[in-house]
């Protein structure tokens, strides 16, 4: 047998306790190039191998008789671990029944008995490899065809969609063409029609409603056109046009002969024809600017509706026409408003608005007379009356209710009730006279003095008051009609109740609620109550020298297992209401605050309580997660002995965090930090100084002094002594009331309380109070992460596109190969037919030879296609992998964005405090900055306070002001 075959990619697992046999097996397998052979001495070992292997075995061979697990047992177990492998059992006996039994049970594909013939063994293994490959191929082909199917389906769907889209688009265009053609035809007809001038009267009555303002407007348009025409002609002949364009009607006209009058007629005719389209616009716009007090008499319903833009000219005319027609038919009480509603020219709610305004206009007109009377009789000053008028108008604008001015004057105690009644009687407004506005209701309406229907400002309640004259009545219909007219449709009380009120009412001032809507309820945002101190301003005891003693626990909180840590008062959802017009009243949503538990705590099932699971230090982090943490104590320094520290809890270092060492934990308490790198999620408490270090903390910071250190913190910071050559950006407040800041840049969003900034010699410092430096830094940190992910995403998307393109290229390659094959097959069919027809054996041989060559070509092409399919499969897998990665990266980016928003929102929740208090001295050159404003001290200042305020200067909306403090 030849040795030059390479089957090294196909692994074989051999399980046999007989080592010489295994050795021999390896040698035999080498002959056919099976160089990847792994062996195990027993079944257990074999299983372990199968469990841990990275590359699959195409063949698993096992001896039947082994200590422990038998070969067939092992092979049976291997099915689950390596389902696609071929399995071969080596037996030492020739009890075929037993073998066959094992074969059937263990999905064993081959068995061979000892001693075996090597050639036979190899032939069988090669045979198994072929079967294995066939199965793999089947799997691949199956996937390919499945995928193709899906693509075919998609394409068919796309095609259908495209066709529909095209059909729709085409139809749209066709319709347009049709419309345009029609329009063109109309235009042509119109143009022809225009040619025949029927006279000014005809033309005008065709285009405008004949009334005075319209005719004047038409005249103005025509005159303007004459002016324009004449100006053009004058211009062309360099004549000077003397007319002022407002040429009036009664100009003197010289005697002109008839020929000139012909010319004039022709010119007028042409002018009027050319301005005809403009005439259509006359009167179609509601007359703007007509307000309540502009009316000198109560307008008709349709007039007001039209003036206020509820109706178009056409609608109004149509309704009036219809009304007229109906009135001649029968003398029913049909009114214009009913016609308008019926034709849906008006909405019901507008109807009530128009009636309300009509009422207001009427009231105002009467009240103006009344006002004159009041002033004449000196019952009140003009100022009082004007004020009452204003109140009346405001009242109307707010609630749509036309309150009587006399009532307003009574309410503001300008006149007495008696005077009012007298005045009203004098005006004949006490109710005997029917209102001019609504004649359909027996008791007049809300406008007159009869039933007073009022609607609360929030539109949730309507009530009536009834005058004595109708006390004791039982007819509720007028009231119901009144409500309907005002558009009240929701929450109306029962007829019985209204009837009872009408019957029993004796007091004309008694209010009766006829409709009650549902008031919306404003929600309450969720709130969390912490049962431990969430901010430990001063965790330790400050010694004389400024160092801080954290050994006594000080104020730092401590809880026992089982203790309640936080409670959430859930938010109260807002509820929308419904007004008496049946419209929904919406209210804004309120915020929910999630209560989240971290390490060492338990969140109750209802999500409302958090209790401690362990005894330790409670904390709530920047994201609002409540945890209880255990402590880990480093006795001595963090250095080469301890290495970097990364602990999921609090860390106490009794010594120093040394140069180049990193501590990552929740809360860190240390004696000193010298050259360390600190990244913590909780508070940082340092008894002495922080020197040459880099610190990032999501909690607050306490230390004796700070030197050559870069620090970013989410919380407050207290330094008892100096801050030197450091860069600080925190979102909290800085307390350095007993220290001194030199040559540093310090940004604290919640303001600063300092003693001294600068010295005679030191480099200048920058003090930024209320500045967002820390927030920007946090945002940037997230942005960098997002950028990185985005870059990776872009790259992956590009890669996926490449793969997809490659896939398509391969797809075309295969198609081309297939087409070529088809051609050859056709030729072969032709040749096969010919071979029967030709006579000579030579010819037959030639054709046979050609056929054979063609067949070889087809076979080669098949192999090529298989290879391309395989490649395509790989490309598809890569594309799928990219797809998955894209999805993952998108999720990750979304997650980071969410996290960023959450943290930034929390940091920005409180307003910045742009305020610096310096109790001793601020030296020249110190730069002080607020949120945007900045100033540099030109001289040394004593105890001072700097505050940023809004300025009037639009170029710099903020300015810093300095106040001297008297201490």
């Amino acid at each position: 047998m030849s040795v030059n075959e390479d089957n090294s990619e196909y692994g074989i697992l051999v399980v046999d306790d007989d080592e010489p046999i295994v050795k021999n097996m390896r040698r035999v397998l080498h002959r056919k190039g099976f160089t990847k052979m792994v062996s195990a001495l027993n079944g257990e070992q074999g299983i372990k191998l199968l469990e841990t292997t990275q590359s699959p075995f195409f063949l698993i061979m096992s001896d039947q008789r082994m200590p422990g697990m038998s070969g067939s047992e092992f092979l049976e177990k291997s099915i689950l671990l390596s389902p696609e492998s071929r399995r071969m059992l080596i037996t030492g006996f020739s009890n075929f029944d037993a073998i066959i039994d094992a074969v059937n049970k263990g999905e064993i594909h081959q068995y061979i008995s000892k001693p075996w013939d090597n050639d036979d063994l190899l032939l069988r293994i090669v045979g198994e490899l072929e079967i294995y490959k066939s199965f793999q191929e089947r799997k691949r082909l199956y996937n390919i065809t499945k995928r193709q199917n899906a693509k075919l389906f998609d394409l068919a769907a796309t095609q259908k969609k495209e066709l529909q889209k095209f059909a729709d688009a085409l139809k749209e265009k066709k319709d347009k063409v049709e419309n345009l053609t029609q329009a063109l035809k109309d235009a042509k007809e119109q143009a022809e029609f225009k040619e025949v001038f029927l006279g000014l009267d005809e033309l005008l009555s065709r285009t405008i409603t004949m009334n005075k303002p319209n005719l004047i407007a038409a005249f103005k348009i025509a005159r303007k056109e004459v002016n324009a025409m004449m100006e053009t002609i004058y211009d062309r002949h360099k004549f000077s046009f003397q007319m002022d364009g407002t040429a009036s009607a009664n100009m003197e006209v010289d005697d002109l002969d008839d020929a000139v009058f012909d010319i004039i007629d022709q010119i007028i005719e042409n002018v009027v024809i050319s301005v005809e389209p403009n005439l259509f616009g006359i009167g179609s716009e509601p007359v703007a600017g007509i307000v309540i007090d502009d009316y000198t008499q109560v307008p008709g319903f349709d007039e007001l509706a039209f003036n206020d833009g509820f109706l178009t000219k056409g609608e109004r005319e149509k309704a009036l026409e219809e009304l007229e027609a109906k009135e001649t038919e029968t003398a029913t009480g049909l009114t214009i408003d009913k016609v308008l509603i019926k034709n849906e020219f008006l909405r019901r709610q507008d109807l009530s608005r128009i009636f309300a305004k009509l009422a207001m206009i009427e009231t105002r007109l009467l009240d103006r007379e009344l006002a004159k009377m009041i002033i004449d009789r000196e019952l009140a000053s003009k100022k009082d009356v004007d004020r009452a008028f204003k109140k009346q108008l405001n009242n109307f604008e707010d609630s749509g209710v036309a309150a009587l001015m006399a009532d307003i004057l009574v309410e503001s105690e300008v006149i007495t009730r008696e005077v009012r009644d007298e005045l009203m009687a004098a005006q004949d407004r006490t109710g005997k006279k029917k209102s001019t506005i609504d004649e359909s209701s027996q008791f007049s309406s809300e406008f007159g003095a009869f039933v007073d229907l009022q609607i609360s400002e929030d539109r949730v309640q309507a009530w009536i008051r009834i005058p004595k004259s109708v006390h004791g009545t039982t007819d509720i219909e007028p009231i119901k009609a009144l409500m309907k007219k005002r558009g009240i449709s929701y929450g109306i009380v029962s007829d019985t109740e209204i009837r009872r009120f009408l019957k029993d009412c004796t007091d004309p001032h008694e209010k009766f609620v006829v409709a009650q809507g549902i008031a919306p309820s404003v929600g309450k945002p969720a709130r969390i109550i912490y049962h431990f101190k969430t901010e430990s301003e001063q965790a330790g005891v400050i010694n004389e020298d400024g160092s801080i003693d954290f050994t006594s626990r000080g104020e730092s909180p401590f809880v026992k297992k089982g203790q309640l840590l936080a409670e959430k008062i859930p938010m109260q959802h807002p509820k929308s209401g419904t007004d008496i017009f049946g419209e929904t009243l919406l209210v804004g949503d309120v915020d929910d605050v999630p209560l989240e538990g971290g390490e060492g705590v338990e969140l109750s099932e209802d999500g409302l309580n958090i209790t401690a699971l362990i005894t330790g230090q409670p904390s709530v982090d920047i994201k609002g997660v409540v945890s209880v943490l255990e402590s880990f104590t480093v006795k001595g320094d963090v250095d080469f002995k301890t290495g970097n520290i990364n602990f999921n809890g609090n860390v106490i270092v009794t010594g120093t965090v040394k140069e180049g060492f990193m501590v990552e934990c929740e809360e860190l308490t240390a004696n000193e930090i010298n050259g360390g790198i600190i990244k913590i999620r909780g508070d940082l408490k340092v008894s002495n100084g922080i020197v040459n270090s880099k610190v990032q903390t999501e909690g607050s910071v306490q230390a004796k002094f700070l030197n050559k250190t870069i620090l970013y913190g989410y919380g407050n910071m207290m330094i008892t002594r100096e801050i030197m050559e450091s860069h600080i950006a925190i979102s909290g407040a800085l307390n350095n009331e007993a220290g001194r800041i030199t040559a540093s840049q310090v940004a604290a969003r919640k303001g600063m309380s300092l003693k001294q900034v600068g010295t005679e010699k030191a480099d200048y410092s920058t003090i930024k109070a209320g500045a967002d430096d820390h927030i920007r830094w946090v945002a940037k940190k997230f942005d960098v992460q997002i950028d990185e992910k985005q870059k990776e995403l872009d790259l992956t998307i590009a890669r996926k596109l490449d793969y997809d393109e490659e896939y398509n290229t391969l797809h075309v390659d295969i198609a081309n190969q297939t087409f070529a094959q088809e051609k050859i097959t056709k030729k072969m069919d032709f040749l096969e037919n010919r071979i029967g027809e030709v006579k000579t054996p030579e010819e037959k041989a030639t054709i046979a030879k050609e056929l054979k060559e063609l067949e070889a070509t087809v076979q080669k092409s098949d192999e090529r296609i298989k290879a391309i399919f395989e490649e395509q499969d790989m490309v598809q897998q890569n594309s799928n992998a990219c797809e998955q990665k894209i999805e993952m990266l998108n999720d990750e980016i979304k997650e980071i964005r969410k996290e960023k928003d959450k943290i930034i929102n929390r940091l920005e929740k409180d307003d910045p405090v742009p305020e610096v208090k310096i109790t001793k001295k601020a030296y020249t050159g110190t730069r002080i900055t607020g949120t945007t404003a900045t100033m540099i001290l030109k001289q040394d200042l004593g105890a001072s306070k700097f505050t940023e305020i809004d300025s009037d200067n639009p170029d710099s909306p903020k300015q810093l002001i300095h106040q001297t403090l008297n201490l």
Binding site: M1, I100, H109, L123, G127, E130, I131, S134, E137, R138, L141, I144, Q148, L152, L155, T158, Q159, E162, F166, K173, K176, V177, L180, L184, L200, D201, N211, K212, L215, A218, F219, R223, K224, V226, T232, I233, Y234, H237, S240, M243, T246, A249, N250, M251, V253, L256, V260, I263, I264, I267, I268, I273, S274, H811, I814, A815, T818, F819, D862, I865
Partner: protein
Amino acid sequence: MAEKFDHTVLIVDDEESIGRALGRLMKSIDVKYVYMDSGPAALEWIKKAEKPFSLILSDQRMPQMDGSVFLEKAKELTPFSIRFLITGYADVDAVTDAVNKGSIHRYINKPWDNKVLAETVKAGLEQHALIMENNRLFALAKEQNTKLYTLNTDLKKSAAVHQKAIIQKDKQIRELNALLEKGFENRNYINEMEALLKETRMLEEEKLNSLYVAIIAELYEQFQDIATRNGFEMPENIPGD
């Protein structure tokens, strides 16, 4: 898979009794068979058969043509049939040769155990079914690929055709719009009036001035007439805008 597949086995042996015995074995496993007593006869049959044999079982020692030679030729005619060679101990060389040429899948040593041979044949039939299934899938994959190709090309083509149609309609719409705009445009009556004035020798500043006054007066007169007819009066003075 084997159950679904309609297998036929070709048995080739010069000794009819052995052929019959093998046939019985096939029957016992529910498989159809064809028996031939020599290589050449079997080859003729293969050529004529409508459907390829799933498996060929041939004895090595036959007078007209050796089994290995026969199977080699059979492979050319029916490459997807599984080929087993039945051999005696003396046939080592022939077997080695056949194996190396890849013309046989397995050889069965005489004497064989019927049960073992039945299992081996079953495995061979399964393998054949697998190969045929793969061929079918491959053909299907090619066919679908072609369909995809055609569909894609069609889609592109029809998209182009559609676009052309839409563009044509758009053009038509543009033309109609242009026509319509032109139709709506007021004809330039000023030129006509100018021509009229020229014709009547009115194109002089003086004359035009009085003409202008006359036009406005006449216009007002005409409007006033209409107003009167409608029951109202035009105001005496109508200011410009």
